[in-house]
């Protein structure tokens, strides 16, 4: 009897001591003064400018690279970075002059070749860069990147790129594109040092760029340490000593670590904590629109949904959705009900126009029922709404949307949900155009331009035109906008094209997605840029 009790106590005691002992050894050893400790996700692809299309890799590239242009973190305006001037007479051939004195962190100069070589590398199909298509406007792209599967490239470099001298190069586009210079802030257009081409593997292990930070050490799938790049020539100041990015697979753990004071900033508050975040973090919780847009798309390639008569049905469905309530109840205001096809991050000057979609995107269940009946009712009497359900609380909003539609129609089974278990499976169905009813689509902007919210998504046969939408009028307006003489005129034309969309409704705007972040009381001056990435260089450490 006594023995047993003693053993029990001994075990309990040992456990307690062990737990206390482990407390002393905690930390990662990276708590250097002035360094911001930030959460990070493992980048999906190797860190190369043209091979990164997701936010985790993009956030690093944005810290270690500066391209010709850089987007203002507040206004989203494209400002010159390495470019001294970008001149054109016909909006098709651009002469780009670089500022002198920019250096990569390995000490080599940033020259015209740094850009031309990088772009040629990114476009060449055999380099398997996921972002190749960003170079598609440049003349000669089709030779280095033939569209057909398996076709071999007939050239290694694009004919549209010419180096004039050490700091000047010209770019000839396939056709006029007035806003093209403003796309150049995207990381795919970053310059690359010679080291990238000389020893690719070594470069990937420790990337070298020309941005405000430089990489000190990188352990894949664990962490990256960045320090202030003393040789940086850009205008922004770096207000801290460096940034330590720590990989978390689960943002819940990152959130817990933030609460425990082991990390300074997380840029994605977990869905399960949204309800408490404001209370837990006080004023240290950020929730603001980002350049991400969610829609319900219609399979315009299916006769029943794409016909002229079905237009009224599409409008009716749109009006039957109570967007405001869903963004508040399900997303705790981390989505903002959409009233146009772009994003508030563009701001008025960039083409965002609140309410542009008009009545079609306003909740009105009475009118919705009328319209759907006028349009001949739902095809086959009912509809199914599809989305992947592995992320993003998609299941919840789909149920809510269906409820909203069913209530408007006064039938309990008019709309049902078709959950697809994984994102890849879902996307392969969507891209193969095998959808039979409405389905979700999300779009994260590449650059803060109105064009990026319209052309890739709705232009005939565009790369991400999931609906299979095709409208002569829309295409013509986009073409005109792309080649308009000045920015203002082109903006108006884009908005006119947007009006065509809100009339045709190949896709229903749902909501703008917000970026969320939380930070510790150890740091100040935290904000998110239009891509919902923290502006690291502005952060100060107390």
């Amino acid at each position: 009897m006594h023995g047993a009790t003693r053993v029990g106590w001994a075990v309990a005691g040992a456990t307690a001591i062990a737990l206390v002992a482990s407390a002393c050894g905690g930390g990662g050893g990276g708590d250097a003064a002035g360094v911001v400790r930030a959460s990070w996700g493992d980048p999906q692809n190797p860190l190369e400018p043209a091979n990164t299309n997701e936010v985790q890799g993009g956030k690093v590239l944005d810290m270690i690279f500066r391209g010709l242009k850089h987007y203002d973190p507040k206004t989203a305006e494209a400002k010159n970075a390495v470019a001294d001037k970008i001149e054109t007479e016909d909006n098709q051939t651009f002469t780009i002059t670089l500022k002198k004195g920019w250096k990569f962190s390995d000490g080599t100069d940033v020259t015209a070749h740094s850009f031309v070589d990088a772009w040629n590398y990114g476009a060449l199909v055999t380099n398997k860069q996921i972002g190749s298509s960003f170079f598609q406007h440049i003349e000669g792209y089709d030779e280095v990147h033939p569209a057909d599967e398996g076709a071999e490239p007939t050239a290694k470099t694009m004919s549209g790129l010419t180096v004039e001298d050490k700091y000047t190069f010209t770019v000839k586009l396939k056709e006029k594109f007035t806003l093209w210079p403003e796309t150049l802030g995207y990381t795919a257009f970053a310059p690359l040092p010679k080291a990238f081409f000389d020893d690719h593997d070594a470069w990937l292990a420790k990337p070298v760029g020309n941005g405000p930070y430089k990489v000190d050490s990188y352990t894949r799938s664990q962490s990256m340490r960045l320090s202030k790049n003393e040789a940086y020539s850009g205008e922004e100041k770096v207000n801290n000593e460096g940034v330590e990015l720590r990989v978390y697979t689960d943002n819940n753990t990152a959130y817990t670590d933030l609460q425990a004071g082991n990390i300074d900033i997380i840029d994605d508050v977990p869905a399960s904590q949204l309800k408490n975040a404001e209370r837990d973090l006080g004023g240290r919780y950020i929730n603001q629109p980002a350049g991400i847009f969610q829609t319900i798309n219609f399979p315009m390639y299916e006769g029943a949904w794409g016909s002229g008569r079905a237009k009224k049905v599409r409008q009716g469905i749109s009006m039957a959705i109570n967007r405001k309530e869903i963004t508040e109840k399900i997303y705790f205001r981390t989505r903002t009900a959409a009233s146009d096809f772009t994003s508030p991050v563009l701001q008025k000057a960039g083409g965002y126009k609140k309410g542009l979609c008009g009545d079609e995107c306003t909740y009105d269940p009475g009118k919705a029922k009328e319209l759907i009946e006028e349009g001949g009712g739902l095809p086959g009497g009912r509809m199914t709404l599809s989305s992947n359900v592995d992320t993003g609380s998609h299941r919840q909003w789909m149920d809510a949307v269906c409820n909203s539609i069913n209530n408007a129609l006064g039938r309990s089974n008019a709309c049902t949900v078709n959950p697809v278990s994984t994102f890849p499976e879902y996307r392969s169905r969507v891209t193969a155009k095998r959808m039979k009813g409405p389905f979700r689509a999300g779009w994260q902007m590449d650059y803060p331009l109105i064009q990026n919210f319209l052309q890739p998504l709705y232009y005939t046969n565009a790369s991400s035109n999931d609906s299979g939408y095709s409208s002569e009028k829309f295409d013509r307006l986009i073409d005109e906008a792309n080649s308009a003489e000045d920015d203002e005129e082109s903006l108006e034309l884009y908005q006119e094209a947007e009006k065509v969309l809100s009339d045709d409704l190949p896709a229903i705007p749902l909501w703008y997605q917000n970026g969320t972040a939380g930070y510790s009381d150890r740091i100040d001056n935290v904000r998110l840029n239009p891509f919902s990435v923290p502006v690291y260089n502005e952060i100060t450490v107390n």
Binding site: N53, K128, A147, T256
Partner: protein, 307 residues
């Protein structure tokens, strides 16, 4: 004995081939990994075709499997889509998971068997009842609940530990995650030991030992426990594999960069080389652990002999 081991090792070959093939098929049934790389953007067909060729995804499945297995025997587990060789991922993740497993096993063996013996010897007593009740509670609550709760309590409220384990994953950092990982199995081991002890406590050889006047402690450890451990050891053996793989939940909660974590990442991103590589290693671990268990039987009970 030697022949027995060889026979067992030979039996492993078809099991190994069968399981790896099943895993290979299942991972490929998940969807197109190349499409997933492009996110919301529709894959550019030319780039996608190049990637498919690189990862042999353009060939029929049986051919892909043969190519893959051929390479495995030369020690090449392929390359994950992020450009990292899978062997490098394995080298990083396996030692960490192994440490975590050792900690968990330690808790299972020490706590589980001790509690089991105590409650088995006092069957029906208040100690026994409370242990049974405790194990019931532990079994009923899913690991992610206990994990998150413990993490919040010890990491945030009390501040005794860091909620996330550092990349080095030292033993002292792994104590709490190890305990959480061990909990459910620990409860089973307690119950198994208890039943086994309670049964054997009335056996003839125990009565003889008592009659001989042996000290109580010696009877319990040398006679009673040794004979009662066979079912427990069987369970522990199968548990090695499930601990390595089952660490998926625990490793995610505590951000431990081990096998479970890499597997989770691999599945999330449809990264078939990672998933198949890791599961192949897990299959091997599982098979070897079971062989070890079978051999241990003979040590525990000399009447069991292998010809």
């Amino acid at each position: 004995m030697g022949r027995y081991v060889i026979r067992r090792l030979l039996q492993m070959i078809p099991v190994f081939i069968g399981t790896t093939f099943l895993i290979f098929v299942m991972v490929h049934a998940l969807g197109d990994p190349v499409a997933a790389l492009f996110g919301d953007r529709t894959p550019d067909p030319a780039t996608a075709a190049q990637l498919r060729r690189e990862f042999n995804l353009d060939k029929p499945m049986w051919q892909q499997y043969l190519l893959y297995m051929g390479k495995i025997f030369t020690g090449d587990f392929g390359t994950a889509f992020n450009g990292q060789p899978v062997t490098q991922l394995l080298a990083g993740a396996l030692p960490i998971s192994f440490r975590l497993m050792l900690v968990a096993m330690g808790f299972e063996i020490v706590l589980g068997i001790t509690l089991g013996v105590i409650s088995g010897l006092r069957k029906g007593g208040s100690m026994d009842t409370s242990v049974l009740l405790m194990t019931l509670v532990v079994i009923a609550i899913p690991t992610f609940v206990t994990g998150v709760l413990a993490q919040f309590l010890f990491g945030v409220k009390l501040g005794w530990i860091d909620p996330a384990v550092s990349p080095a994953a030292r033993f002292d950092e792994l104590l709490l995650p190890g305990l959480i990982l061990a909990l459910v199995s620990l409860a089973y081991i307690t119950r198994l030991t208890r039943t086994s002890i309670a049964e054997n406590a009335r056996a003839d050889y125990v009565r003889t030992a008592i009659a001989k006047g042996l000290p109580r402690r010696r009877i319990t450890t040398h006679h009673l426990l040794r004979n009662s451990l066979i079912p427990v050891v069987t369970f522990l053996g199968t548990d090695v594999g499930s601990l390595m793989a089952g660490a998926l939940v625990t490793e995610r909660i505590f951000n431990i960069q081990g096998v479970g974590y890499q597997l989770y990442q691999g599945v999330l991103r449809q990264n078939s080389p990672t998933v198949v590589g890791f599961v192949t290693i897990l299959v091997l671990v599982f098979l070897l652990a079971n062989l070890l268990v079978d051999l241990l039987y003979a040590v525990l009970d000399p009447r069991i002999r292998y010809a």
